[in-house]
């Protein structure tokens, strides 16, 4: 017995209705995914407001606390940008620049193990990738970190060194202020470094985002 087609009536058929819903949903999400996937996602860069204030600007910062004894770090956490990553030891490259952690592991940062350990007096240095070939990596959001944010470092002696961010700056690779970033400090300080400063296909990232922080607590 042949039924005559009647436009619209078949949507009451549950199978047809389900298939129509699936089709519309797949169409919408497919278009959204293609549009979104084709966009570029440059990592956020620090604004002028995050930069180190003038010499007088350090007055309002939290006071430093007594330094901790040397102990190598195991892990870094920056809750404001949802970073929670293990730390591997880093050395120097042939040119004297800081080596970097293996790029394949997107949630791995490193520390300069021939230098100061985080929490003891001096400048401890942590570096991690902003991205790798597959996409964003551990310090992708470092550029949006605000002054006053907290950075926690788990130490192998079981303690946690707590640092407070003083400034977030971006420096061009051609004019990198070595002394300002790596130079010695009397109080316990921390630098967290990743790539930044614009990207071009020929030369890659133009510089580095550097977070300046100092020890304000421990537990």
């Amino acid at each position: 017995m042949r039924r005559f087609p009647r436009f619209g009536s078949g949507v009451r058929d549950p199978a047809n209705a389900a298939m129509a819903a699936v089709t519309v949903f797949a169409l919408c999400s497919g278009v959204w995914l293609l549009r979104n996937g084709a966009e570029t996602h440059a990592p956020p860069q620090p604004s002028a407001a995050q930069a180190r204030a003038g010499l007088g600007g350090l007055a309002g910062e939290r006071p430093a606390v007594p330094a901790l004894p040397p102990s190598p770090p195991d892990r870094i956490r920056i809750p404001a940008i949802r970073v929670d990553a293990p730390l591997t030891g880093l050395g120097l490259t042939n040119t004297g620049s800081l080596d970097v952690p293996p790029a394949a592991d997107e949630n791995l940062a490193g520390w300069y193990e021939s230098g100061t350990t985080p929490g003891e007096p001096g400048t401890a240095i942590v570096a991690g990738h902003v991205d790798n070939a597959d996409g964003p990596a551990v310090f992708y959001d470092l550029g949006v970190l605000a002054r006053g944010s907290t950075i926690e470092v788990d130490r192998r002696d079981g303690g946690v060194a707590v640092f407070t961010v003083d400034a977030v700056e971006v420096y061009a690779a051609k004019a990198f202020p070595d002394e300002r970033v790596y130079g010695a400090a009397r109080r316990p300080e921390l630098r967290v470094i990743t790539c930044g400063g614009g990207w071009s296909r020929g030369t890659g990232y133009q510089g580095n985002v550097v977070v300046f922080a100092h020890l304000t607590g421990s537990r």
């Binding site: 087609p5 195991d74 230098g115 964003p136 070595d178 890659g204």
Partner: protein, 173 residues
């Protein structure tokens, strides 16, 4: 006093010069014991890493040559190389000392050198310049999202075709 200070300073410079000439920041060799920093002042801390012991293996280290006794090497946070630390005694004399480690599993003996100097070299081994921490992988089109979008559109096309077929056959549409 000045008469004794001058030869001492000269000795210190000579030791530091030898240390700089002979020891990189890491006393590393592929199958040996990595000692970091390779140059250290008396009282300083030294990290040793026995990559040769394999992933997850522990080791027993011996730094008694420099007067620091034995130390345990355990796999680091990533479960890879066995790593340990010791402190050079404040009374240690300048010179080159052999540090050894015995792998827990294989019993293999690995060695590395630590150079004790009177002048700190830390100030001379700050990193220089920018750090290569990105390749731009976050910037291009996202291949996963693009593939998912193509798959979703394929589903939509299949669904649309199925509905059109049912309508053409008169199955209720």
């Amino acid at each position: 006093m000045r008469r004794t200070a001058r030869p001492l300073t000269a000795t210190a410079f000579a030791v530091a010069a030898v240390a700089l000439a002979s020891a990189p920041a890491h006393g590393a060799s592929a199958d040996g014991l990595e000692v970091s920093p390779a140059s250290v002042v008396p009282g300083g801390q030294v990290t040793v890493r026995a990559a040769a012991c394999g992933d997850g293996g522990s080791a027993t280290g011996d730094a008694s040559a420099v007067g620091a006794g034995s130390l345990g090497l355990v796999p680091d946070a990533h479960g890879q190389d066995a790593t340990g630390r010791f402190r050079v005694p404040p009374s240690a004399q300048p010179g080159t000392y052999e540090i050894t480690a015995t792998c827990g599993g294989s019993g293999r003996l690995v060695t590395g050198d630590v150079v004790v100097t009177l002048t700190p070299v830390r100030g001379q081994v700050h990193p220089r310049g920018s750090v290569k921490t990105g390749v731009g992988g976050a910037l291009g089109p996202d291949p996963v999202q693009t593939a998912a979008g193509v798959a979703a559109l394929a589903v939509a096309a299949a669904g649309g075709t199925w509905l059109l077929h049912r309508r053409a056959r008169g199955d209720g549409i």
